[in-house]
Amino acid sequence: MAFTKEKIKQLAYITRVKVTDEEAELIVKDFEGTMAWLETFISADTKGVEPLTSFMNVAMPFNKDEVKEGDQAELVVSEAPEKEGTFFVVPKVVE
């Protein structure tokens, strides 16, 4: 699979990270290297093996249906780069 600068920029957009042309070119090379390195890994025989999603075989712990959090709007927005009252404010979303 040949990775182009365009494909890298697309992937970067999906993850909302701006990459310069230069950076995109570096990532292309990086990608090619990584994918080559991963070839034996991809083709390793794992037929019939169950994926291991987590080490922890625990039962889902639950909270009771009680309101114990919230009521701290000022705190919630206290670190916001832009806020108005207790709203977060961002540049307008273009629908």
Partner: protein
């Protein structure tokens, strides 16, 4: 005469509790040591005023007979842990000015035990890296040779511990981020089983692998630290609901009958310095001499561990780092006036190069068409590796292995992308990642030196058998002391 800042944590606790010296004195000693070694760049935030206040309060408690187990002990905390009211950045520009209004469970456990904080320690950005050269605050220097890396991602923690800039430090590991820097800086680093400690308040990198652990001057210190760090936390849904044993009780020298394994696939690896191999063999022989059974085990899938990590960690990171978007906290850089552009600019400028490449790779491998090829394949191979370790632990109690193959690279070599860096990196991956991918606990114990630089040996046991880890680690430490 041992200086106060040269004492181990255990000695410090004993000295404080028996009122041989005060917490204020100890804290001041560490503060001075930090001030004298700022060029190592181990600390990214010094909280000296707070530390002195806490030390005064600790001395009051001790005087009143209310001393808690770690009362007045000064610690350094990796800047990955959210500390309430104290800036926490994960050493990334995107969190450069973030002050969390909450405390992580592990650090809260330590404060509840009476410890106090000297400051936040340097690390690779978002814990992604093995060299501590990707921090937005600049690289950390290895105290043994300031041109060399201390290892990462807990480089600040290891350097601070090695240079007596804290009584003990808190690090974390996802792939090898405790064991590698501990090895490169000649200190003890312990990584508990995945799920032993709570991850609440730890900035997430790879949720299914991240785990907090202590980096200390001695094995006993690590056992003490873990005793207070570990435990069930309802706020972490995948945390183990298991009682925390008194790990200090595991610190025994006697290893008669202990079954010690060494991994066949690690024999004769090109690139491992003969001094390291000799040190490794010496350790195995020391155990044999003390009555342990030394047995070869085979874990064929170790060769894939680095790749499993590369896939899983990057995929999970891509998702975990999506929240850093300039909306609710952290850096915001406006673009052309649209929300999308604000995201792009903020994350483009806020994240370092390593992060960006991992986000792109991670997004690729999680995409619908690639999901099975990479992500699920990684989970399948991880299952095989996990099973192989479990099988090995039927034959042995503990597995011993090297950690770093040679003297650490120089910072310049890393920044220039020299070949030696990736060669060494591959070897380190091979030697360390398998244990992390299997979720087993392990400890790095300083074992010798190569080219004047320290290297450690690791001892890993099966999941939730931290007791054997401390037992074997302590025994090894004592054996090596005996030699000197």
């Amino acid at each position: 005469m041992t200086e106060l800042h040269e004492l181990s944590l255990k000695e410090t606790v004993d000295g404080l509790q028996s009122k041989k010296f005060s917490s204020v004195e100890v804290t001041d000693a560490y503060i001075k040591q930090i001030e004298n070694n700022r060029d190592l760049n181990a600390y990214v935030l010094e909280t000296f005023d707070q530390a002195r206040e806490s030390a005064k309060a600790a001395d009051k408690n001790i005087a009143a007979g209310n001393a808690r187990p770690l009362e007045g002990v000064p610690l350094g905390i990796k800047d990955l842990y959210c500390t309430k009211g104290v800036r926490t950045t994960a050493c990334s520009n995107i969190l450069r000015n973030f002050v969390p209004p909450y405390e992580s469970t592990i650090t809260q456990n330590l404060w509840n035990a009476g410890a106090l904080m000297l400051g936040k320690l340097n690390m690779d950005e978002f814990a992604m890296g093995g060299t501590n050269t990707t921090s937005c605050f600049g690289p950390v220097k290895n105290p043994w040779d300031k041109t060399r890396i201390p290892g990462g991602s807990s480089g600040g923690s290891a350097a601070a511990t090695a240079m007596d800039m804290a009584c003990a430090t808190l690090g974390s590991e996802t792939g090898d981020s405790i064991r590698t820097p501990a090895s490169m800086c000649g200190v003890v680093g312990m990584k508990p089983s995945y799920g032993r400690c709570s991850r609440y308040g730890m900035i997430s990198y790879s949720s299914s692998l991240d785990q907090g652990g202590p980096i200390t001057k001695t094995v006993a210190d690590a056992a003490i630290m873990l005793k207070y760090m570990a435990g069930y936390d309802h706020k972490d849904s995948v945390c183990a609901d298991l009682p925390v044993p008194d790990y200090e009780a595991s610190l025994k020298k006697d290893v008669k009958g202990m079954r010690v394994g060494y991994i066949r696939e690690f024999n004769e690896l090109g690139g491992v310095h003969e001094d390291v191999y000799k040190g490794y063999r010496d350790c195995l022989n020391a155990f044999k001499a003390e009555g342990a059974d030394v047995v070869e085990v085979s874990i064929p899938h170790v060769i894939f561990a680095g790749q499993i990590y590369a896939v899983l960690a990057n995929c999970e990171a891509a998702s975990n780092l999506a929240r850093y978007d300039g909306v609710r906290y952290g850096l915001r850089v406006d673009g052309d006036g649209s929300l999308d552009d604000m995201y792009l600019e903020t994350r483009g400028k806020g994240f370092g190069w390593q992060i960006k490449r991992r986000l792109v790779i991670g997004s690729y491998m999680l995409s619908a068409e690639q999901y099975d090829t990479y992500f699920k394949q990684a989970q399948r191979i991880r299952r095989l590796l996990f099973n192989e370790f479990a099988e090995a632990y039927n034959q042995v109690d503990v597995i011993m292995a090297p950690i770093t193959p040679d003297a650490p690279c120089t910072i310049e070599q890393v920044l220039n992308g020299a070949d030696v860096v990736s060669r060494q990196g591959c070897l380190i991956d091979l030697l360390t990642m398998p244990m992390a991918m299997a979720g087993v606990p392990g400890i790095a114990v300083p074992a010798g030196s190569v080219d004047g630089m320290p290297f450690g040996i690791q001892l890993c046991a099966k999941r939730f058998d931290e007791e054997t880890v401390f037992h074997a680690g302590y025994a090894l430490e004592q054996m090596l002391k005996g030699d000197k």
